[in-house]
Symmetry: C2
Subunit: 136 residues, 2 copies
């Protein structure tokens, strides 16, 4: 069956090539935050006709139509996740690079308020907590 992302592609009117279908499926099935290289490896395992240039182009395309989100966790390469309706922030475990998603209502309100108090309207934001597991 088509992946959730593949359906979204069709909804957006994208021409569905085999490559895009595979990449969409890979992203839909990834619950981590893969970088381009990783998406390429996973896609290429399914269909070796996929080149890394296509993965780059497709990620940008998917980002432009808002079906994936691009993140930058400070390691010099872009990382992606399937867009979801619910906003969340990220906590990065610096010991192993693992990414934990979280949402905090009070935090969201505070961010909006701070921007407003400074005379701005927030259009986007980024919050990342870099942390280590509590021992014990």
């Amino acid at each position: 069956m088509p992946s959730r992302l593949e359906k979204l592609c069709v909804d957006k009117g994208l021409k569905m090539t085999e490559q895009r279908r595979v990449i969409a499926r890979v992203l839909s099935e990834s619950d981590d935050h893969p970088d381009v290289e990783t998406v390429y490896e996973r896609s290429n395992k399914i269909d070796s006709r996929i080149s890394i240039a296509t993965v780059y182009r497709t990620m940008r395309l998917f980002e432009e139509v808002d079906i994936v989100e691009k993140h930058d966790f400070g390691d010099g390469r872009a990382r992606y996740e399937e867009s979801s309706d619910d906003h969340h922030d990220h906590l990065i475990n610096v010991e192993n690079g693992e990414v934990i998603e979280f949402y905090d209502e009070a935090l969201e309100k505070l961010k909006t308020k701070i921007a407003k108090d400074l005379g701005y309207k927030m259009v986007d934001h980024r919050l990342e907590l870099y942390a280590v597991p509590l021992k014990g």
Copy 2:
């Protein structure tokens, strides 16, 4: 007179070359968040013997001894500012790239608490608000 950053370099025991002195001075006199290219241009205007490789090396050195802070505002290149004792976050005006610094006590506490509730100890964090000026 030596710049604040130059004094800090000496305190840290760094060998003070003319290049480092100039770069330290440029950074001390910058109240924006210049990228390497900009630091290079400003330094080179003062002393044309400075190469961009030295600026890269010096920024990394200054970062390692904690006298400058490196930021990534999502435009693909590193931006720097002189370290200060007081932590602050950044609001980026997306209309012109201007960076506004701010500090919010409640926000700081909330960040620490969120990490703790997730079972982590926060070691670093990054918060950037991307915003547009309120009209009126």
